[in-house]
Amino acid sequence: MFYIYCPHCGEHREEEEFHAKGQAHIVRPIDPAACDDKAWGEYLFFRKNPRGLHHELWIHAAGCRKFFNMTRDTVTYEIKEIYKIGEQPSVVAGNKLAGNK
């Protein structure tokens, strides 16, 4: 049980209100019909599974029902950063001390 900050509601809420939605920053190919099977398959099915920092998509499912991004450490479960859709993370692998946005 831990608390997660929703950047839309502007406050921390109980984990139970949220759902994880997998890897963040997956860009849909602009012209899917032009993709070969490998490119389309990788877009649809292939995901990172890092040990350490991971950028994830989450939804405040029982609250405002909005998506946002979270950078999380998959080893410690520590939440490093919350940022909105369309924004880039400031905490990235190899830059673990960068805490400010």
Binding site: H8, R13, E16, E17, A62, C64, K66
Partner: protein, 222 residues
């Protein structure tokens, strides 16, 4: 979003339907807790207790989705309702018998008297501009009012939300987990709250609230 809006032409008038049966049609409106016979319980049940419950039934529930950065839309809402959209997250505003709850940065729940719903929705269709959505969900949910000295103790059993006055002042509204279901919870007074709940969960939550308030005593009012 502004690019999108500038490209949207007003295509056609949305279909608006008066969901209330016409006078004299003989159709009876039944709230989601109709079967609980709250009127009977109000007369025959306990008259004293730590928690009071009333169903604020058959109100008009309009879900508005629009752009809070569009001044024309904000002005239109004020024209129709005489009440400004609460832009501040997690706040609700009330004026007379109309209330607006912030649901998300682009979604609000407008509650109006049931018999005014059709007129207000029609008025929105005339006045609102740009890209927006207005849905009449009146039949799908109901409002439960809870008040009394033990109402916070009751709510603490139902949801992980912090109800301390510094964290949850009067005028705040949240959507959250509520007893394995969900509810839109707003504080309308120091010891007074309102729950907006789904019709399909109304009976379950009614049973839950009776059980959870047993130790305080539950008074039904109409």
């Amino acid at each position: 979003m502004s690019d999108l809006e500038s490209n949207v032409e007003v295509v056609a008038k949305a279909a608006v339907m008066n969901q209330l049966p016409a006078d004299g049609s003989g159709v009876r409106a039944e709230s989601p807790l109709f079967h609980a016979e709250l009127e009977v319980l109000a007369k025959q049940g306990p008259q004293q207790g730590g928690v009071h419950l009333r169903e604020n039934k058959l109100q008009g529930h309009l879900t508005l989705r629009c752009n809070q950065n569009n001044p024309d839309q904000l002005a239109a809402v004020e024209t129709v309702l005489g009440l400004a959209l609460p832009i501040q997250p997690l706040t609700a505003v009330v004026k007379g018998d109309i209330s607006i709850r912030w649901m998300s940065p682009d979604e609000w729940l407008i509650v109006v008297p049931g018999e005014q719903t059709f007129d207000i929705e029609s008025c929105f269709r005339d006045v609102m501009t740009g890209h927006y959505s207005l849905v009449n969900g009146s039949g799908g949910q109901t409002i439960i009012e809870l008040w009394g000295p033990d109402v916070v103790s009751l709510l603490k059993k139902c949801t992980p939300i912090d109800f301390h006055p510094t964290q949850f002042p009067v005028g705040k509204v949240v959507s959250s987990i509520f007893a394995k279901s969900g509810a839109v919870i707003s504080r309308t007074g120091e010891d007074r709250f309102e729950l907006v709940i789904r019709r399909s969960f109304a009976d379950y939550l009614w049973l839950w609230l009776q059980d959870a308030s047993r130790e305080y005593g539950l008074v039904i009012e109409v």
